[in-house]
Every structure is written in structure tokens, then in C-alpha cells.
């Protein structure tokens, strides 16, 4: 977190720079089938974030040495397009992308029934085309929808959202400015049917009480986003 305490981002009435109240989510819309050559795909527009995800597989797993006898390998990549950020991003994997790819894979492996496809590989590709805070959550959500769209069996979908703290106030679903200048960021990956978690990070400074408040905002928001995911999957392809 940037932690510039002196940028005012919420007024005395609890109105945030983009007009939302503390507990409000940004607008979220989801489409499936946006990548025709993929086995499953989804686009998530979340505020001005724009992410697409493609799923390929189950398919033969090579190189052989990464094959697993008892289950499929889940190969997940998160990437930001060079034009996705105000300052151009140099193409190529960096440490941040690698870490996000790993935690995203860890979250998805917790729900995908990999044992059903021994010796196979399932590829999940997440591309951020426009980034405006919370891209790891947007990407993980898009990947969940794409997996469902590809017909890959899962125990539940993962919904991911990040709440945090700005000017000492706990708020839901940080936007770019709040993420840059706020005091804490708590992204979570939630199973909407059980309320259990498969993904959790935190950066910043939260007292135990603030932590609980942010946690609860994430839980509520997850239910809202989950409904949008379900509707998109019912609605047929783009």
C-alpha cells in the first residue's frame, strides 16, 4: 500500500471518490465464449478493469515429466497486456505475475476435480487488458467462469474480491486510487456455497476489528458477484 495518509479519498458522509458508499461494489459484468478457439472462456468487466480468461483442455500433458499419474496438472498463467496500465508494462513474466499465477493456481486447484483427468493438463490463461485495482481478484473470478464454461467439474466456483482501508475507514472493493493511497488491501477467494476460503492475502495495517469488517464486506460482495457469474453462464455465449 502506498500509504500517503494525506490524500482525502472519502468524505464525511462516507462518499468515495467514485461516488460509492463504503460497502458498495463497482459495476461488474460478465460474458462467456469471448475467445472462440478456446474450450471455455470469459470476459469480466469490473469497474474499468477488463480481463479475459481462456481454458484449454483437458488435453495431453507434455512435457511428460510434469505429468501426474493420479490427477490432471493445472497450468495457470496471469499476465498483464503491455497497454493495460497508464505506464506501459514491459512484456514478459515478472515476479509479481509469477506470484499471482501461483496463488491463483493454488486457489483453483482447491476446487477443480483434477482426479477425474489423470495424466492430463488443463491450461488456464488470464489476460488483463485494462487494469484498475484488484486485477488478481478479477482474473481469478474470470478464470472460474471460464472453467465452468469449459465444462470442467468443480466443487464450487471461486469468487474473489478485495476490500481495504482508506483514510482510516474500511471500504469494499478498492478502486485504483484507493489501492494506491489506501492503508490496507485484503483480497480473498471465497466459495459462495460454503463461505470457505481458497485464497487470502493482506498488505497494510488493519486492527483486528478492522480486519473483521473488511472480511465481512468481502463475504457480502462475493454473493453479489456470484449471482452475476451464474447468470452469465446461463445466458449463452457472446
Amino acid at each position: 500500500m502506498g500509504g500517503y495518509g494525506d490524500v482525502q479519498m472519502i468524505d464525511e458522509n462516507g462518499v468515495r471518490v467514485d461516488g460509492r458508499g463504503p460497502g458498495d461494489l463497482r459495476p461488474v459484468s460478465i460474458e462467456t465464449g469471448v475467445i472462440p478457439v478456446a474450450d471455455g472462456s470469459a470476459r469480466v468487466i469490473w469497474g474499468t478493469n477488463h480481463a479475459v480468461a481462456a481454458v484449454y483442455g483437458p488435453m495431453e500433458c507434455h512435457p511428460r515429466k510434469i505429468q501426474r499419474q493420479d490427477r490432471a496438472v493445472l497450468d495457470v498463467r496471469y499476465n498483464m497486456a503491455p497497454f493495460s496500465t497508464p505506464d506501459r508494462m514491459r512484456p514478459g513474466f515478472n515476479r509479481r505475475s509469477r506470484e499471482i499465477s501461483k496463488v491463483t493456481a493454488d486457489a483453483l486447484e482447491s476446487v477443480v476435480l483434477l482426479e477425474m483427468y489423470p495424466r492430463c493438463k488443463i491450461r488456464v490463461e488470464i489476460e488483463i487488458l485494462c487494469a484498475e485495482a484488484g486485477t488478481r481478484c478479477v482474473g481469478l473470478t474470470a478464470a472460474s467462469v471460464a472453467l465452468a464454461h469449459a465444462g470442467i467439474p468443480m466443487t464450487d466456483m471461486v469468487v474473489s474480491v478485495a476490500s481495504g482501508k482508506i483514510n482510516g475507514v474500511v471500504v469494499c472493493d478498492l478502486n485504483k486510487e484507493e489501492d494506491n493511497y489506501g492503508e490496507a488491501d485484503l483480497p480473498m477467494g471465497i466459495l459462495p456455497n460454503s463461505g470457505e476460503l481458497v485464497f487470502l492475502q493482506l498488505d497494510g495495517d488493519l486492527s483486528p476489528a478492522e480486519f473483521q469488517e473488511a472480511w465481512d464486506y468481502n463475504m457480502e460482495a462475493a454473493m453479489v458477484v456470484h449471482q452475476i457469474m451464474v447468470d452469465a453462464l446461463k445466458g449463452g455465449d457472446a
Partner: protein, 264 residues
């Protein structure tokens, strides 16, 4: 891209179709797939375009950086063009360093734009010898069903045409101004399939075909860039035939760029 081991059956099938002057998806030899162009769809890019040609979908984004002019060209800015085909775009594209195919792709599109002189680099100077704009055109495929070359070239020139120099963000002015783009070079690509060249090959035709030829033409029909790719032999008369088609199709593509509208 990993090489499929046995496209022999596909080759045979395509050759049979070619004998009857047919293509596997019903198109005529010089017919393109449905082609859509949208501009202005990526908020963080200073210029952007999305092209859909059948099931091939690509984006182009323009970003700007401040550069120091080269000592021997103190009044010039620069243009850089990169093409990425990430594994999102298809089953056979793999992660890792750019493949020879994607390097060739980026360089061929880059040359077509650069050699046409459509970007007047003298116009990009801010302070002679000290500061100039560098234009960066990033081409990004998300769905590859063949002929990424033409899709990239079309998205690329449309994104440039729609780009705004971000003078506000760089605290140089209180309004942004359009990037001056004086010409609209466009590219047509031909693939030899079943022994004859066709226009706008799709993924199956690329897989079961031989060499390809890429032609970039300028506003006045001048040739700015040529590239023959892949294994294969062609004759002068084959070349004349595709050049003739390119002269008319490139004009249509130019109109499409000129008439492109901002996305809602």
C-alpha cells in the same frame, strides 16, 4: 507453435477442394472472412483497436514514452512495434520466449507501418536533442484462427490513427492532441493451399498449407513491404496475380480504417 505431426490428411482434403476451386468453409478463393474493426476500447491505452476476422481476435494498444532522440537525429521521435501471441490465443501457442513465428509476425507488421512513413517522426520532437515522444504499438492476439498478420496490421494502423498524445498526463499542455498519422498502409496476406494461393487463410488452411506472402501497400498503391514466409516455391505469374488482388483489397481495408468509430 508446436508442430502437429500429421496434417497429411488435411493437406489432401484441402488439395481436393482446391481442384474444384472450393475452400473448406465455402468461401471463394479471394474472399475474406467477416471482418470487424472497433476503436477506442481500452481505457488505459492512448489509442486502441480490436479486430475480429472470423474466429481470429486481436487487440492493438498505443502507449507513449519520453525518449532522448538519437544523437544523429536530434529532431526525431521513435516508433516501436511489438507483437505478442500469448498462450491464451490457442491450443498450440506455448509460454516462453517469443517464437521465431511471432518475431517474424511483429517485424513484418512493423516494417509495413514504418516503411510507409505514415508516422512523421519529425513531428514527435518535444525539445530538439533532449526529449521526443516514442510511440509504442503493442499487438496482442487473444484468439488465433489464422491470418494474424492481416488482423494485426489492421488493428495496428487503426489504433495509431485513433491515438492521442497524452500531453495532459505528461504535464505538457492542458489538452491532448491526436497523433499525426498521414497515411493508411494496409496488408493483405496470401497462403498457398492445395497448390494455389488464397486470401485470408484460416487456421486449418494455415495448418494444411505451404508458403505465404504478405504485401503492404500504401495510399497510392506503392509497395512498402513484402515478405515470403515458410517453405515453398512460387512463380512470377503467381505473384502478379496476388499483387493484383492486393491492390484492390487494400483500398477496402483503408476505407474500413477511415470509417472506424469509437466503441460505445
Amino acid at each position: 507453435m508446436a508442430i502437429p505431426i500429421v496434417p497429411q490428411l488435411l493437406r489432401a482434403h484441402l488439395a481436393e477442394l482446391a481442384e474444384n476451386d472450393e475452400r473448406h468453409d465455402g468461401r471463394a478463393r479471394w474472399e475474406s472472412r467477416d471482418t470487424e474493426l472497433e476503436i477506442g476500447i481500452l481505457r488505459n491505452a492512448e489509442g486502441s483497436a480490436k479486430v475480429r476476422m472470423g474466429d481470429t481476435i486481436v487487440y492493438a494498444g498505443v502507449k507513449f514514452q519520453i525518449m532522448t532522440p538519437y544523437p544523429d537525429r536530434p529532431n526525431q521521435g521513435g516508433l516501436m512495434c511489438t507483437a505478442e501471441i500469448r498462450p491464451v490465443a490457442g491450443r498450440n501457442w506455448e509460454p516462453g520466449p517469443p517464437s521465431p513465428e511471432s518475431i517474424e509476425l511483429g517485424r513484418v507488421v512493423d516494417r509495413g507501418i514504418r516503411e510507409s512513413g505514415c508516422i512523421d517522426v519529425d513531428n514527435l520532437c518535444i525539445i530538439p536533442g533532449e526529449k521526443a515522444w516514442q510511440v509504442i504499438l503493442d499487438l496482442f492476439a487473444i484468439s488465433d484462427d489464422g491470418n494474424l498478420f492481416d488482423a494485426f496490421a489492421l488493428a495496428g494502423i487503426a489504433a495509431l490513427k485513433s491515438a492521442m498524445l497524452p500531453e495532459v498526463r505528461f504535464e505538457m499542455s492542458d489538452s491532448d492532441r491526436p497523433l499525426p498519422v498521414s497515411k493508411i498502409p494496409t496488408m493483405c496476406s496470401y497462403h498457398k493451399v492445395g497448390g494455389r494461393f488464397v486470401y485470408d487463410a484460416d487456421g486449418r488452411e494455415e495448418l494444411g498449407g505451404d508458403e505465404r506472402i504478405h504485401i503492404t501497400l500504401g495510399d497510392d498503391g506503392h509497395v512498402h513491404s513484402l515478405q515470403k514466409g515458410l517453405k515453398g516455391i512460387f512463380t512470377e505469374s503467381e505473384f502478379s496475380e496476388i499483387m493484383e488482388h492486393a491492390q484492390s483489397r487494400c483500398k477496402e481495408l483503408r476505407e474500413m480504417v477511415l470509417n472506424a468509430e469509437e466503441a460505445g
